[in-house]
């Protein structure tokens, strides 16, 4: 097994690429670890996010293409949201497309001279002008790219941005193969400043099957576990949307900008309701037989006669929280309509929904008016949110452009920081209590998936700072290892450490297999070192008052415990920083 990374480095300004081979497989595995390693090589920690030479990195792992559910790609960049290094993860076809094209990672440098689309595969690299796509929505862009680059239809990945990315919104996502996203922290804006409207990766080559019977037998066993047991049922049956009722029942589901944590309106937006009324079909990431993608539909009558149009919209727990409960919208079809409008302009649904929830409460309190919001916002008014989605994505006025930079940036100008639901970035849909609030606000990606805090808090609400911080720290390396394998985190019950060792062994990464624990620790530390080198400081992360005022299933938040938890976790994270004299 070749243990060097094969990395395709593309200079967008010159429209030229070069293949580099880089050591480090046994040190950083791939995915998250490889992305951090590549940022050290190509990144500019001292430069802002929109510096032309700042890289955008796409990385896959050592088991990509070899085993089921090894279907994610890590996208790493300096975020326009906080001007620090970050990662976003997405499924779709991209991981296997990169693998079959023959690359472990793709590094994009420079800025294309005009708005452009890049297509690459095992034997080609082509940058083509796409000025005619300026301002075009995500769906239309996808359709045109398919016509511009007809080669490898079906065996490729198409990723692209909408107008939100073109205007540099820190809430702009990168759409991956129509139904998946590099959603959070503004990857779409990084594509935008690079003048990159779309990227096509053709998986047009082949790789050898690992020799011996061990691999074939292990593949079959993993496939059987995934398909023939109930391990994955919760993901493909109702999907993550099943959690809406449960979280509402225990008073942990944010409603109306976190003014409350439960509401009878849940009956309109449960996982069961979405499945019964809106679910059109399921989809899958390539290489994953689970098929957890839930595609809902809505139809609209556009003439008095019986003339209808319809849309297919992916849904999950988090988007329903963001475009539903957080906005007080309790009709499942209305939720899909709002999500479709976020999608069209290329906004991250979670960030946009939470930002509009804040704007609604700010309107209620008289801090904002239609002079800023253009359309009057009120909780439950889905039509207004559909219009606001467009204004936010297009940056229609100064207010929306500011809001697109982050809710707290808008709050700093207009007031209302106390009720900005921001935990490092716009909150995820878990009002489980201080442990989750701490974990998201200080977590590496500010993601609910950085650690299992939201789950732990439901199982063990005990208030012991040392125990809680030890849990957060102990939970992170394994997740960093999984994201370095670029496994879907839904597969963590399948890919426990012992199974990962067997898988790595079977494909020939024996040295890596023998050292996954220290490698996991090394990846965790390396990621934090890169993040800290680009400006992260735990002490600078502040928490809006709303998170101290909220009542969860545990009762009122214990502010004193919350502060001690944040201080202790932040201090432990900052211990990953290298001494000032030591170069990265």
């Amino acid at each position: 097994m070749n243990e060097r990374f094969k990395v395709f480095v593309v200079d967008l300004e010159a429209a030229q690429g070069r293949v580099e081979t880089i050591d480090g497989r046994n040190d950083v595995a791939g995915g998250s670890g490889l992305a951090a390693l590549l940022f050290l090589r190509y990144g500019r920690p001292e430069q802002p996010w929109d510096h032309p030479e700042q890289p955008i990195i796409l990385a896959i792992g050592p088991l990509t293409g070899h085993f089921p559910l090894m279907s994610k790609t890590v996208c790493a960049f300096v975020s326009p949201y906080h001007d620090q290094y970050t990662e976003s993860h997405a499924g779709g076809r991209l991981a296997l497309a990169l693998f079959f094209a023959g690359y472990d990672a793709l590094v994009l440098l420079g800025r294309a001279k005009t708005l452009s689309c890049l297509s690459l595969g095992s034997q080609h690299l082509s940058l083509r002008d796409a000025g005619f796509m300026e301002g075009m929505n995500v769906a239309g862009t996808g359709k045109l790219i398919r016509r511009m680059f007809p080669k490898s239809s079906g065996h490729r990945s198409i990723i692209r941005i909408g107008p939100a990315g073109e205007i540099g919104s820190a809430m702009a996502c990168i759409n991956v193969d129509s139904y998946r996203h590099f959603g959070r922290l503004g990857g779409g804006a990084v594509f935008g400043v690079k003048n990159l409207k779309g990227l096509v990766v053709c998986g047009d080559a082949q790789r050898p099957v690992p020799p011996g019977k061990e691999y074939a037998g292990l593949f079959k066993e993993v496939h059987r576990q995934v398909c023939s047991t109930d391990m994955m049922r919760k993901y493909y049956h109702l999907g993550t949307a099943a959690n809406l009722r449960g979280l509402n029942d225990i008073q942990a589901l944010p409603w109306n900008n976190l003014q409350k944590t439960a509401d009878p309106g849940i009956e309109g937006v449960t996982g069961e309701i979405f499945a019964d009324r809106t679910l059109l079909r399921n989809g899958a990431c390539s290489g994953c037989p689970v098929g957890c993608i839930h595609l809902g539909f809505f139809r609209d009558r556009f003439k008095e006669d019986a003339r209808y149009l319809y849309h297919q919209v992916p849904y999950d727990y988090e988007p329903i929280f963001a475009a539903g409960t957080m906005l007080g919208v309790t009709d499942c079809f209305d939720v899909l309509r709002i999500l479709e409008d976020f999608e069209r302009v290329g906004l991250d649904a979670m960030s946009a929904g939470v930002a509009l929830a804040w704007a609604t409460e700010a309107t209620q309190r008289g801090l904002l008016s239609e002079k800023q919001t253009i359309v009057r916002l009120s909780f439950g008014d889905a039509g207004a949110y559909q219009q606001a989605a467009h204004h936010l994505g297009l940056g229609s006025n100064e207010f929306y452009r500011l809001l697109g930079g982050g809710t707290r940036k808008a709050a700093a100008e207009y007031g209302g920081d106390d009720f900005a639901c921001v935990l490092g970035q716009e909150m995820a849909g878990y009002a489980t209590g201080p442990l989750f609030f701490t974990a998201q606000s200080l977590g590496f990606r500010h993601s609910h998936l950085d650690t299992g805090a939201y789950s732990r808090e439901q199982q063990d609400p005990a208030k012991d700072v040392t125990t809680a911080v030890d849990f957060l720290l102990a939970d992170e390396p394994y997740r960093a290892l999984l994201t370095s394998m670029t496994a879907c985190l839904f597969a963590r019950s399948v890919y426990q450490s012992e199974q990962l060792v067997k898988c790595l062994d079977s494909v020939g990464y024996r040295e890596l297999a023998a050292s996954i624990e220290p490698v996991a620790e090394r990846i965790r530390a390396l990621r934090w070192q890169v993040r800290i080198a680009t400006g992260f400081c735990a002490e600078e992360i502040t928490i809006p008052k709303r998170f101290y005022d909220v009542t969860t299933w545990q009762g009122p938040v214990d502010g004193e415990y919350f502060d001690r938890l944040r201080e202790a976790y932040g201090r432990r994270i900052m211990e990953f920083a290298l001494p000032e004299a030591a170069p990265l």
């Binding site: 079906g154 065996h155 082949q206 037989p289």
Partner: protein
């Protein structure tokens, strides 16, 4: 000998498990394309999926144009391929009316051998080894 059929492609979720299994188990490659069955979106992911696979013609046009006898008629439909006799001319690729034969950059051709090894990897029963006469009965019993 029962041929591979794809009677329930409307259930397909686009996971590629079938084509990956064929490439892996039959052709000893990791690939989307070097496989006897290939899955494509039917015009973007919003419109579902189609399978591109040998329909088991008898007589098979690919056999008729093969200049070396590498492709031979299979009893029950489809072809038997003797790779050592193939000269990578690609005549079979153009002769196939449904584009079911893939030729890679090195000239090697890939066509479904109707071995059925892909069937067990489909999570939704889209594929089946069955005689055409049995197919309607199979669908009637769903």
């Amino acid at each position: 000998m029962k041929p591979l059929t794809t009677p329930r492609m409307d259930r397909c979720i686009g996971c590629h498990s079938c084509s990956l299994a064929c490439a892996r188990l039959v052709h000893k490659k990791l690939s989307w394309a070097t496989s006897g069955i290939r899955i494509h979106s039917a015009g973007g992911l919003s419109t579902g999926f189609i399978s591109v696979v040998c329909l088991g013609c008898d007589p098979a046009p690919c056999v008729q144009v093969c200049p070396t006898g590498a492709f031979r008629q299979r009893k029950g439909g489809g072809v038997v391929v003797r790779k050592s006799d193939c000269i990578s001319c690609g005549a079979c690729v153009t002769a196939c009316p449904v584009g079911a034969i893939y030729q890679d950059g090195g000239g090697e051709v890939y066509v479904c051998l109707h071995c059925g090894r892909c069937v067990e990897f489909c999570p939704h029963g889209c594929l089946e080894l069955t005689q055409r006469a049995d197919l309607q009965r199979s669908l009637d019993h769903e």
